[in-house]
Amino acid sequence: MSAAPFLAVAGIAKRFRGLLAVDDVSFEVAEGRIVALIGPNGAGKTTIFNLIAGVYRPDRGRIALVGRDIAGLRPHQVCDAGIARTFQLVKPFGALSVEDNVLVGALKRNPAMAAARRTAREILARLGLAEKAQAPAASLTLAERKRLETARALATGPRLLLLDEVMAGLRPTEIDTMVATFRSLVRETGVTILLTEHVMRAVMALSDHVVVLHHGQKIADGVPEAVARDPRVLECYLGTHAPIAPGARG
């Protein structure tokens, strides 16, 4: 274990015109692990993602990737540093083919066209989109678009992958496929994953570690089983939503 944690978020805060979306949140992500950020709607999960990804600048606090401060970098610089992200509302390049979509991502890692195309094809195959390579991205189903979104982010060769509610709207079988894909991805490439999710089935199955947010604050931080039994977590979910259990929500 190296001295500096892989991703360290320390005391970050973000206010939007009177609403404190993120309030003094700190957590760490170890390399090669899968960490889940969960919490009710409005808890601040996507804001934290946007802070890490460079879309917003934190009002306070520090975000460090292997010791290097990345808070305040612009999104493309964050990608240069080795962090790739997907969007909650998928953003495919509709007029381009599926393969060309991933190619755009791959060009970050391989500026040469031929090498980039090879990478794109490999990643498409890994995510089960090889047959749709020439189809226009706009013609894909939601599940396929989510996989495309992931493939594209993956093609940039990141060390840290931020997955924003990538399971939302998928059927249980599709969720299981995605879980298996991510598991093998981490095992084979050593990429680190930080994901936000509402689908508890996926969270419990995938994560090594869970961080729970509520009203912009961190209320729990631990292994999935412990978090699922934590009374504060149960209270925040019971107060507004159904209890956490595998198979619930989605």
């Binding site: 879309v55 969007f87 390049f93 509709g94 007029a95 381009l96 060009l107 970050k108 980039a116 020439q134």
Partner: protein
């Protein structure tokens, strides 16, 4: 034949059609009347300007409704250097192109730095063009609102260096430029820059998240488009031999310039050329109608109607549809 086609990345049919078209165009001045040649010069001007504008809008998704600014800057630079210092137009281009590119970088740089996009950006381009138009009206050194006139010399001999000659000379010059622009845009579209531009057009946030420095690439599109446009500006100045700020920088010119690529096919390679041909030819027939009926404004009305129909019914332009119908399309793209 098929091997050559595959090497070039086109279907064999497209190769044959392209070669045929090129042969006809090269031979045109020999068998066509001088009227047809001069109409074709107009077509080629429109095509080239459309190709330059297409880089900004069709590839990178940046709507510029003030492109006449770059035409005018090129034209006035070339003309002024000729009138005041007897410098040939090609030297004038060496000055005019950077000036236009600088203007583009200023407009683009300020806009993108301040996050001005979409329709607001379009309004900004209009504002800059209008501002410059009025500025030049008061710019005495280049004639002001009374205009700048180039001394017309003996047209019997073709002087390419001084851009003095018959319409046929301009015809071949513009044909070469259109062909060069086609080759350049095709080259760029297949490289990283082309894909990055398209990504920015489709979804700038997603592009940014994939490591694309959208500011730099958008600026590159604007600069290239402006520079290419200015080249045509210089040539136009020497073709028409007169310049007025009220026409050179007019918003009407900007709109006219946009029509060919929109009608032909935004973002395609051959669209602006096809659109230029269709619009100019039909426009010329309208001119005949206008003269016969003695009514002003028929031509503009026609432009507006075509624009409306295309934007409403066939926003992808006519060329993709025609190319598919002719069987020239390569898989999914009609390039």
């Amino acid at each position: 034949m098929t091997r050559i086609a595959a090497r070039l990345g086109v279907t064999p049919r497209a190769l044959v059609a392209g070669a045929l078209l090129l042969a006809i165009l090269l031979a045109l001045p020999w068998f066509a009347s001088s009227y047809i040649v001069s109409v074709m010069v107009l077509v080629l001007f429109a095509a080239y300007l459309g190709q330059a504008w297409n880089i900004m809008m069709g590839f990178a998704g940046l709507l510029s409704i003030g492109h006449a600014l770059y035409v005018g800057l090129g034209a006035y630079t070339g003309a002024a250097l000729f009138v005041h210092f007897s410098l040939p137009p090609w030297i004038g281009m060496v000055a005019g192109v950077p000036i236009a590119m600088l203007a583009g970088c200023i407009i683009g740089g300020l806009s993108f730095r301040f996050g001005v996009t979409g329709v607001y950006f379009a309004l900004l381009t209009i504002a800059f063009a209008e501002f410059t138009r009025i500025l030049f009206d008061h710019f005495g050194w280049i004639g002001g609102s009374s205009g700048l006139f180039l001394p017309v010399t003996n047209l019997a001999q073709n002087d390419l260096w001084h851009l003095r000659g018959s319409p046929a000379m301009f015809y071949y010059l513009m044909l070469a430029l259109v062909a060069a622009a086609l080759a350049l845009t095709r080259f760029l579209l297949r490289r990283r820059i082309g894909f990055y531009w398209q990504a920015i057009r489709e979804d700038p946030d997603a592009a940014e998240a994939l490591g694309i420095n959208t500011f730099r690439y958008k600026l590159a599109a604007v600069a290239l488009s402006a520079g290419m446009t200015a080249i045509a500006g210089v040539i136009e100045a020497f073709y028409y031999n007169n310049l007025y700020p009220s026409t050179a920088f007019a918003i009407g010119r900007s709109v006219e310039l946009m029509s060919a690529p929109i009608v032909g096919g935004l973002g395609t390679l051959f669209g602006p050329i096809f659109g230029a041909f269709v619009l100019t030819v039909l426009g010329e027939s309208m001119t005949g109608l206008t003269a016969a009926l003695h009514i002003d404004g028929i031509k503009q009305w026609f432009y507006g109607a075509v624009l409306l129909l295309i934007v409403a019914l066939q926003p992808g332009g006519l060329w993709p549809w025609v190319a598919a119908w002719l069987g020239l399309a390569d898989r999914k793209d009609a390039r």
